[in-house]
């Protein structure tokens, strides 16, 4: 794993308030290229709020999110123009939704779904777009003869893999995932996690993955942040946090996994 010293993403003192209510408070961390950060916590702990704020979908009340862009170096994403930010979001970033239907265009074929980002950045050669789409279907283990089928004819697991292919086609460097394995049965989950782990490694992706499933966090992430009531209460290497939890809430979380 290659890791440069320059962080890819730096979040400083991020606070998101919904009126008087706290979404998340005083969150700071850095993420380096190729690093996978898991954010765990019970529902309502502010995981998704945090993810939305750092992925440019919801401007935080306070604090900054800085990203190391390919061209201009480190930039505060909320100081960029909207055009620049949207370009960043559909080229260098990727967002994998929990529900694949939120991240896919259900009324166009799998090929068009994968090709959309390529066309958005100016690819105008049908043959090349189609080849790229076929390649990516293969990479996410979907039979290439399904290229012209609508995503609505795909199973839940296939839709999730299609969503991943559609996101990774522009070779992003940073991927946000919100419960990517939620709603999938255990065997499909295992296959998807295996696939994700391979892609993350092969493409040297930096990933921020939000999950309430500690098994997913253990399998994928290098580092872990545990959140409770909008605040990060513990963070560190994944095995360290899970094997030797310090905070009372983390201990409770770890001990609540069914063991036999």
């Amino acid at each position: 794993m290659t890791r440069s010293h320059e962080p890819l993403l730096r979040v400083s003192d991020l606070t998101m308030m919904y009126g008087d209510r706290v979404g998340c408070r005083n969150v700071s961390f850095e993420l380096r290229p190729g690093e996978v950060l898991g954010i765990v916590g019970e529902s309502g702990s502010g995981k998704s709020t945090l993810l939305r704020s750092i992925s440019a979908q919801q401007e935080p009340t306070k604090g900054t999110v800085e990203y190391h862009t390919r061209i201009d170096g480190i930039r505060d994403i909320y100081q960029m123009s909207e055009a620049q930010r949207r370009l960043l979001m559909r080229t260098d970033w990727a967002f994998v939704h929990q529900n694949a239907r939120d991240g896919l265009r259900m009324n166009v074929s799998a090929g068009a779904n994968i090709g959309e980002r390529l066309m958005a950045v100016g690819d105008r050669h049908y043959g090349n777009i189609r080849n790229a789409a076929e390649n990516w279907l293969d990479k996410v283990e979907i039979a290439t003869e399904r290229l012209d089928d609508l995503p609505s004819t795909f199973s839940g697991g296939m839709q999730q893999r299609l969503q991943i292919a559609r996101n990774l086609v522009t070779s992003p460097r940073l991927v946000f995932m919100d419960e990517p394995t939620g709603g999938l049965d255990v065997s499909v989950q295992a296959r998807l996690l295996d696939l994700l782990r391979g892609l993350v490694h092969d493409l040297n992706l930096a990933v921020i993955i939000v999950t309430h499933d500690l098994a997913v966090a253990r399998l994928l992430s290098h580092r872990l942040m545990v959140m409770q009531r909008g605040e990060v209460i513990e963070s560190g290497l994944t095995d360290q946090v899970l094997d030797d939890p310090q905070h009372a809430y983390t201990q409770l979380l770890v001990s609540s996994i069914l063991q036999n």
């Binding site: 909207e82 074929s109 959309e116 049908y126 777009i129």
Partner: protein, 309 residues
């Protein structure tokens, strides 16, 4: 300054000149000026109720009403024909409310309102072409949110338009969109040329006449000033091409015009005729003859009705 145009020839004093009141016409003209200043950009306007149903060209009629003057000569076509219901009623509407001269000759008209076609005869700088538009937003069927499509236009995010063309090729092997074929205007705005067949798209490019588009139900106006670059979207390996026909026009023998198919009987007999009736009759007057013309010794009698699209 409100003022009623006093047309000495005014036939019916029950209406203001060209039906709409002067204040409304000024509002529409402002929208038109903005539309001409930003070619291809959809300008919202306060569309009025017109004495005809939506879908009959209420947008085009309001635009025509705003630009027409007593000295203008109006031609109205529907599917290229001057004698169809829609064309006849709009022509009569302006003959009655504005008392303007009307014509079926493309060359004699100063304003041409159209529902689908662009006349085959090349238009001049002193002519205005007014289009009736049903759905002005080219991105609508892919992105239903108006807020989002406006943002996409503002930021020139047009990748989605090619997703539609990609789907066409993957389903049909070629770009199967035959009408409302999206165009890029002046290298900036993607525009829907309304229900115009793509056969006419090349005519929009660098046209000498002013082209105005009015969408009554959606309350949008857009425009192409004279000599504006209009490029049909395509892929490098699937370039834009217009429809072509194996047959010639049955009446005038034209091979370069847009042809309508006319079913002659229930035995599979059919003929093709120019959709532009003025173009066809002018050619016939000049002595051109197609294989199914009356003069030709042909047993089958044919109907005058146009094939529906």
């Amino acid at each position: 300054m409100e003022q009623t145009v006093n047309n000495p020839l005014e036939a019916s004093s029950a209406y203001n000149f060209a039906y709409l009141d002067e204040q409304t016409k000024r509002m529409i003209r402002r929208a038109l000026l903005k539309a001409v200043a930003i070619p291809g950009y959809q300008v919202p306007f306060a569309g009025r109720e017109m004495p005809m149903p939506y879908g009959w060209g209420t947008g085009g009629v309001q635009v025509t009403a705003a630009v027409i003057g007593p000295d203008d000569t109006l031609k109205v076509i529907d599917q290229g024909a001057d004698d169809t219901t829609n064309a006849v009623s709009i022509r009569q509407f302006f003959a009655k409310t504005a008392n303007v001269a009307t014509t079926e000759k493309t060359a004699e008209a100063s304003i041409i309102q159209t529902r689908h076609r662009i006349p085959e005869k090349e238009l001049r700088e002193d002519q205005i072409l007014v289009y009736q538009v049903p759905i002005p937003e080219p991105l609508r069927f892919l992105e239903p949110r108006e807020t989002e499509t406006r943002k996409m236009h503002a930021l020139e995010e047009y990748g989605l338009m090619h997703v539609k063309l990609y789907e066409d090729i993957s389903r049909h092997g070629h770009i199967a969109t035959t009408y409302a074929y999206p165009v890029m205007v002046d290298d900036r705005y993607v525009m829907d040329p309304s229900p115009t067949p793509k056969f006419d798209n090349p005519k929009m490019d660098m046209m000498a006449a002013l082209q105005l588009f009015g969408a009554g139900r959606e309350k949008r106006i857009y425009a192409l000033p004279p000599y504006t670059k209009v490029k049909s979207l395509d892929f490098e390996d699937h370039p834009f091409e217009v429809q072509s026909w194996k047959d010639e026009c049955g009446m005038c023998g034209a091979t370069d015009s847009y042809l309508d198919e006319v079913i002659l009987d229930d035995k599979g007999n059919r003929m093709f005729v120019c959709s532009d009736t003025d173009y066809c009759s002018e050619r016939q007057d000049a002595g051109h003859r197609g294989p199914q013309h009356h003069d030709q010794p042909l047993g089958t009698s044919h109907s005058n009705g146009k094939a529906a699209e």
